[in-house]
């Protein structure tokens, strides 16, 4: 199917999609993973991504948007290159998750769901990420960072900054 589409995706991603749809009894089952993988590559679920994914799956754009608005990992606006997700749910809260979030806001100079002017970091308060016994915890993109303190958080942010 990909050969007929004027694709905005890389050949590797297009090939991944082509394989993905064959794995399920129903083509639509590939929709959620496809959206996430596209978001990983493009940065967010742009109109073009929505349109191409809809065409590849064979559903309407409305069907795709219906799904996007439900899931918290999906976004229709760009985030920073490093999306810092601070958990403040109960186990993290008990170990200083709220204070860690406040620290990140101060350190990055941005609020919840905001992006730094250089587009390097964005910040989001998130619900439980499954790191309760190693709280407080943060996910930067998909990478877990656990048992954090303000100092170790600074180190982590510095490390990401120096990667660029």
């Amino acid at each position: 199917m990909s050969t007929q589409i004027n694709t905005i995706f890389s050949p590797a991603l297009a090939a991944r999609f082509d394989r993905l749809v064959t794995l399920y009894p129903l083509r639509r089952s590939a929709l959620i993973p496809m959206l996430l993988y596209a978001q990983d590559e493009v940065g967010y679920l742009s109109d073009q991504v929505v349109s191409e994914v809809a065409a590849r799956i064979g559903v309407t754009e409305l069907d795709v948007r219906d799904v996007i608005t439900y899931y918290s990992l999906m976004r229709t606006v760009p985030a920073g290159k490093y999306h810092v997700q601070v958990c403040t749910n109960i186990s993290c809260m008990l170990r200083g998750g709220n204070e860690l979030l406040a620290h990140c806001k101060k350190r990055l100079g941005i609020g919840n769901k905001e992006t730094t002017p250089d587009k390097l970091f964005s910040l989001e308060e998130v619900e439980c990420i499954g790191a309760c016994s190693w709280a407080p915890a943060v996910q930067v993109n998909y990478d877990f960072h656990e048992n954090l303190t303000a100092e170790s958080m600074d180190q982590i942010l510095d490390d990401y900054r120096s990667r660029t």
Binding site: R28, L73, S91, M93, L94, G96, C128, C132
Partner: protein, 437 residues
């Protein structure tokens, strides 16, 4: 990376391969891997279900339904294909056990899926991982590829005449999808909204076919039952509560971590001995025994065995194994509010009692915590929660209501201490407690 801890009281059944490199298939084979499924092939469906029933294994997702019985509900004959579904959407606050299984022993999940498939006559299984667990999806994908390469999956598995395929799948962030029917909707590429039951998944499930859906820990336990024998496994636990489970200790304990302990292990001992007690000479205020949706227990209520029946008798639930410990510096109104904020965020919005109830509860709790509450608010919180119970299509409404009722009933004085414009009386204590950690 999920960290490993250990304690002499642990009985390592499901965790016996953790930290031994078992995500590598050859290492897994060295450690008795894929022996259980070979045994299961020779036993056949009846034999498998008999062994499962003998094990007294109950669902580790929270409801504690006997696994062998669940499997036996799937009709033998079906016009539509049958499926096995692994619920790895671990999202209950306080719970981080499935992460260790996927990270350290992914093949045990595959083996469990195949055995469940053999029991019900399915040829296909899906492993649904929550979207946040991307690094685990990679581990799982590799494990599946390796199993195909060895002939353990695909056509004629282990040289038998049985075909079996396994696909791993990523979610995209939604607590509600951990509910079985919402998970099926999600796997079909839709919003994770629960389905009306009956029909139950065992009859009409994924893609309309009969489906067995089990928690990841439940299915990862299955090969161990065949490795050591169902009756032997049952002996480790208590009556009607076979085996061990992974308990996730978190919050104000000295040694948080995921510990594998026998079912029925004493909760007090778990906190004070396994978990090393409460930090820095503070004292215990409360325990959430099984993830955020389970009613809170007071210090004088925790001398109980951690199995489904005993925790139920104590007025709470064993839930998903997330034991959250709160010391005396915690403000229970803030804790109740944070819990409700979560449920309000995660309510899918389909059932009005849940959608509106969680929203009003969040608003009211916010107001009370901020010092702007009136005396009537306390009863109103309880009344709202009470009216959500049993009035929704899935258990999310109950999950939000049950702990809220317990917070009000057991800590009413703390709610009262916030009224009449008083600032949170616990804020300073908490700051001091956090600073000392």
């Amino acid at each position: 990376m999920a960290y490993l801890v250990s304690h002499p009281d642990e009985v390592k059944v499901i965790s016996f391969r953790f930290g031994k490199g078992a995500s590598d298939i050859d290492k897994y084979l060295e450690l008795d891997g894929y022996t259980a499924v070979r045994k299961a092939i020779t036993l056949g469906p009846e034999g498998i279900i008999a062994e499962m029933k003998a094990s007294n294994l109950r669902g580790r997702g929270g409801a504690g339904f006997p696994t062998g019985m669940k499997w036996s509900f799937v009709p033998k004959q079906s016009a539509k294909p049958k499926y096995v579904l692994v619920n790895g959407d671990e999202s209950e606050p306080g719970t981080c056990k499935d992460r260790l299984i996927f990270e350290y022993d992914p093949h045990s999940v595959i083996e469990g899926v195949i055995i469940a498939g053999l029991a019900i006559g399915s040829k296909m299984g899906f492993i649904y991982l929550r979207g946040e667990y991307r690094y685990l999806l990679k581990i799982m994908e590799k494990a599946i590829d390796d199993a195909y390469a060895k002939g353990f999956l695909g056509k004629g598995i282990f040289g038998s005449n049985v075909d079996f395929d396994v696909v791993s799948h990523t979610g995209a962030g939604a607590y509600e999808v951990g509910e079985e029917s919402a998970l099926m909707e999600s796997l079909e590429g839709k919003r994770g909204i629960p389905r009306i039951r009956p029909p139950f998944p065992a009859v009409v499930g994924l893609y309309g076919g009969p489906t067995v859906i089990n928690n990841a820990e439940t299915l990862a336990t299955v090969p161990h039952i065949f490795r050591i024998g169902g009756a032997e496994y049952a002996k480790i636990g208590t009556e009607r509560n076979g085996g061990t489970r992974l308990f996730c200790l978190s919050g104000d304990v000295a040694k948080p971590g995921v510990y594998e302990l026998p079912m029925g292990y004493n909760l007090k001992k778990m906190i004070y001995e396994v978990g090393g007690g409460i930090n820095d000479g503070r004292s215990l205020k409360a325990v959430v025994p099984g993830g955020s949706s389970t009613p809170v227990l007071l210090p004088n209520e925790i001398d109980i065995g951690m199995d489904f029946d005993q925790v139920g008798k104590a007025g709470s639930m064993l839930g998903s194994g997330g034991v959250v410990v709160l010391d005396d510096s915690v403000c229970m109104v803030e804790f109740a509010l944070r819990t409700m904020k979560f449920y309000q965020h995660e309510s899918c919005g389909w059932c009005i009692p849940c959608r509106e109830g969680t929203d009003w509860l969040k608003k009211t709790l916010t107001r009370v915590h901020a010092g702007g509450g009136v005396a009537k608010d306390i009863d109103n919180i309880r009344y709202l929660a009470q009216n959500m119970l049993g009035r929704t299509f899935c258990p999310l409404g109950d999950a939000a209501a049950m702990p809220t009722i317990a917070f009000v009933d057991k800590f009413r004085k703390e709610f009262e201490d916030h009224l009449d414009g008083k600032p949170c009386p616990y804020a300073h204590q908490r700051e001091a407690a956090l600073a000392s950690v």
